[in-house]
């Protein structure tokens, strides 16, 4: 087994991982920073983000307003000290990206242009055409090439963390091109492995978004927090789940049911705003959870249309005009033409909700530190406490930057005074993994990764979807248990060394099964409705602050299943109030304080 030594190991080459690696390299030019990623960094799913990144920018805006929108959007489950830190540092981070070359969209005078985004009271979302994530990722990747101390390990797949007496000691990875196991010792490890959307059937995520990092930390006893909160995006393409950005609605797009009716007004988001004149927090610019729930209600009432066997509603952009669409939403036009064969200038786009974002993740403190000393987590894989029960669109790209920097700096500060663990301390763990991997191969196997994965994602869609109830969750849980047993018998039948994707998919499925278990059990335990977690059972359809104004923590048991416990929420200045949108929102405490 190859053995390497580094100071800081960053796992993940998306926005969070790259920002952390650059911060670490900038903090101290003497530190060796390893950047591992299972795909080339610019393939990471940050690349797919379209809409934008939030920061208080305009004079009429304020940090207090961004704070309030985030906390009320989270249905009061955000850590308020974390939100305060975040809103205060977001602007400077977006400027930093500008200084590194990000091609942000501009106003005529050359200053930064900001746009509206769902759930935000005012315009504060920076964007780079409709390819914001793409430009952020490429800017960070290209900038990272400036730092000679960052060594990339592209297409290295991390299979385990090396932990010695509750201190991080490094990682164990498979080099995809050779199939060899590589042990990398380090004094700090930053997990930036992204979300877990692929455990659901309909999702907007890329194929690599399989929850690996969450499972890696969880298996070593780190709690996964708030896993029941999974955000559906109201506008994915039917079938593929490809995202049609919220910016379409920010620009003035409207949602119609099969009768051409703007149904959102029936679900507390009205009164109807004129087409093409969007108003923050009203109608189409209400928060995502409310919009996805409205779809479900329409579906129950038979008011959705059918598109090749998928229930859909329509996103209508026609009134915006061809020229405006081409300049402001070119990528969306391209996607609609390619994947549903529709020109948005002449026809409405069929869309349906799809899983988009995992609010929960690896529990960290405000410094991105986990309960294992020297192990940090950041980005979508982490739960630093920004999103609570529901993330506001455009907060997460800013989160990658703000907390990516924190993680990189914190890791750098820590390693100055540390030495590496001796190889002997991790030898047994590495040997164990080597034996495990060898045991996975066989000439034949009746079951397949594909079969188990399909059943997993369908079970999650059924049991842990937009609305949940006890019976559905219990069914889901027993399916998951059965799948785990099948997984233990599953073998890899491709025994080639180089580029063995069958092996990696096998391991990803194992990670996904663990993460799914934590989602389902957390959802069962939260017998109230809050944010993205909506229960249909009697007595559970409302938010219940006296019992559930707290985070769930899923902790791995010796049998591999999750036990759920609870953690209090940090509330600094905004006491819980009702979340209101549409006309109701204008006078309520939740949105006007």
């Amino acid at each position: 087994m190859q053995q390497l030594q580094q100071d800081i190991i960053v796992v993940g080459g998306g926005g969070a991982g790259l920002r952390a690696a650059i911060a670490a390299a900038e903090t101290s030019p003497t530190l060796q920073v390893a950047l591992l990623s299972k795909v080339y960094p610019m393939r990471s799913h940050t690349v797919a983000a379209e809409g934008g990144a939030a920061a208080v920018t305009l004079e009429q805006d304020s940090l207090a307003a961004h704070f309030q929108d985030t906390v009320s959007g989270s249905d009061w489950l955000a850590e308020q000290d974390v939100v305060e830190y975040f809103v205060k540092h977001a602007y400077q981070e977006l400027v930093q990206l500008e200084r590194w070359g990000c091609p942000w969209s501009r106003k005529a005078d050359g200053s930064i242009q900001v746009r509206r985004f769902g759930g935000m009271k005012t315009e504060r979302t920076w964007f780079a055409a409709d390819k914001t994530g793409f430009h952020i990722l490429h800017t960070l990747f290209q900038t990272s090439l400036k730092y000679p101390t960052i060594t990339r390990f592209d297409e290295y797949f991390v299979i385990d963390l090396l932990v010695v007496e509750q201190q991080i000691a490094g990682v164990l990875a498979i080099c995809f091109s050779t199939g060899e196991l590589v042990q990398i010792l380090g004094k700090a490890v930053i997990l930036a492995t992204g979300g877990a959307g692929r455990v659901f059937h309909y999702n907007t995520n890329g194929g690599i978004v399989t929850g690996d990092g969450m499972a890696l930390a969880y298996r070593h006893g780190v709690a996964l927090r708030d896993m029941e909160f999974v955000q559906y995006h109201p506008t994915g393409l039917p079938g593929s789940g490809i995202l049609i950005t919220e910016a379409c609605r920010g620009e003035g797009g409207i949602l119609l049911n099969k009768d051409g009716y703007r149904y959102l007004q029936d679900y507390g988001l009205g009164p109807e705003t004129p087409a093409g004149q969007p108003k923050n927090k009203y109608m189409e610019l209400g928060p995502r959870d409310k919009l996805s729930q409205a779809f479900w209600q329409q579906q129950q009432r038979g008011l959705t249309a059918d598109y090749h066997g998928h229930a859909v509603v329509y996103l209508d952009l026609r009134h915006l005009g061809e020229a405006h669409l081409a300049s402001r939403l070119p990528f969306i036009c391209e996607l609609a033409k390619s994947y549903v064969n529709i020109d948005p200038a002449t026809a409405p786009i069929p869309i349906r909700p799809a899983v988009h974002y995992t609010m929960g993740g690896i529990l960290t403190d405000i410094n991105c530190q986990t309960s294992i000393s020297g192990l940090f987590a950041v980005g979508e894989c982490a739960s630093v406490g920004l999103h609570g029960a529901n993330r506001l669109g455009s907060n997460s790209l800013s989160e990658l930057l703000v907390f990516g920097k924190v993680a990189g700096e914190q890791a750098a500060a820590r390693v100055q005074k540390m030495s590496l663990a001796p190889v002997s301390a991790v030898a047994a763990q590495c040997q164990h993994q080597q034996t495990y991997i060898s045991s996975l191969f066989a000439d034949s196997c009746d079951d397949t990764v594909h079969a188990i994965r399909t059943e997993l994602t369908l079970a999650m869609e059924q049991g842990c979807g937009i609305y949940r109830d006890n019976a559905g969750l219990q069914t889901c849980l027993s399916t998951l248990q059965a799948l785990k047993i099948r997984y233990q018998q599953l073998k890899v039948t491709d025994n080639s060394k180089a580029y063995n994707s069958a092996l990696l998919q096998h391991l990803e499925l194992g990670f996904g099964l663990d993460v799914a278990d934590t989602i389902c059990r957390s959802a069962l335990a939260r017998t109230e409705s809050r944010g993205a977690h909506q229960r249909l059972d009697e007595g559970m359809t409302q938010r219940n602050d006296s019992d559930f104004l707290k985070h769930s923590l899923a902790i791995c048991q010796p049998d591999g299943t999750a036990a759920i416990s609870w953690q209090s929420v940090t509330i600094t200045s905004l006491p819980p109030a009702e979340r209101h949108y549409g006309a109701k929102g204008s006078g309520s405490a939740g949105s006007s304080v």
Binding site: V39, Y40, M42, R43, S44, H45, V47, A48, V95, E98, R99, W100, G101, P103, W104, R106, K107, A108, D109, G110, S111, A129, K131, F134, H135, H138, Q142, T143, L145, K146, D154, S177, G206, G207, I208, G239, S240, I242, L243, H308, F331, E334, L335, S338, Y339, V340, N341, T448, V449, H450, V492, T493, D494, S496, K497, A498, Y499, S501, A502, Q505
Partner: protein, 236 residues
């Protein structure tokens, strides 16, 4: 309906060169080549190919479809007759099945110093008008898929040639009103493996899935490089 997809298979442990293997796939109006490959992988899990976003933005899934470089996720079976052939991107070393060695491509990208070079230290954003942004914006849309390298006969002959994407990236920064790094980038562009390696076939721009037009960038690079040369003649 069912279509036949012939895939160039190659396992470095057992094969001396790639060989075609035929598979049947189900295809409807929205089935992409990537969807078809995923179907094949269910029949044969050992099939190797790269993909992730399935929405033509991550740049992972470049392959040759009937000999033309394409993004698998943005190429649809509806546009082909009953049979098509998929092989690994040309001009790169094949590692396994449809997976090629992208390292030379990444090395070329890094060689052009693809980041803003300037020494102002302000903590405020630069001003950049929409017109200034428009000068380089198209060149900033490259997704690093490598199709243009498979289309480029020069890169096929000389793997040291910087190639369309890297030259485009250099142009992207050279044209950025916030950048002052052109002099640092020009030596690489002026070298024998730089812009002058291009014989202007223009196929790179034809295959680009994002309409980045690398041929235009290379051409602009030649003008800049010629300017450099003329200036150097007049210098003592």
């Amino acid at each position: 309906m069912s279509k036949t997809i012939n895939i160039a298979r190659y396992n470095p442990q057992t094969d001396s060169r790639p060989q075609l293997q035929a598979f049947q796939v189900e295809s409807d109006n929205s089935t992409s080549v990537l969807d078809a490959l995923l179907q094949v992988q269910q029949q044969d899990p050992s099939l190797g190919f790269r993909w992730s976003c399935r929405m033509a933005i991550c740049g992972s899934c470049g392959v040759m479809v009937n000999g033309i470089p394409k993004l698998g996720c943005k190429t649809f079976l509806r546009d082909y007759p009953d049979e098509l052939t998929v092989s690994a991107l040309a001009h790169f070393n094949v590692e396994k099945d449809l997976i090629v060695d992208m390292q030379p491509f990444l090395t070329h990208l890094a060689a052009v110093k693809p980041y803003l070079i300037n020494d102002d230290q302000s903590s405020q954003p630069h001003r950049q008008t929409p017109a200034q942004l428009a000068k380089y914006q198209q060149f900033a849309n490259c997704i690093n898929c490598g199709l243009c390298y498979s289309a480029c006969p020069q890169f096929g002959l000389n793997p040291e040639f910087l190639g369309p994407a890297a030259i485009t990236l250099a142009q992207r920064y050279n044209l950025d009103s916030r950048d002052a790094g052109k002099t640092a980038r020009m030596p690489e562009l002026n070298s024998k493996n730089g812009v002058w390696g291009c014989t202007f076939v223009g196929f790179c721009s034809e295959v680009c899935p994002k309409k980045v037009d690398p041929a235009a960038a290379v051409n602009q690079g030649k003008v800049a490089s010629a300017g450099d040369f003329i200036i150097s003649m007049f210098k003592p």
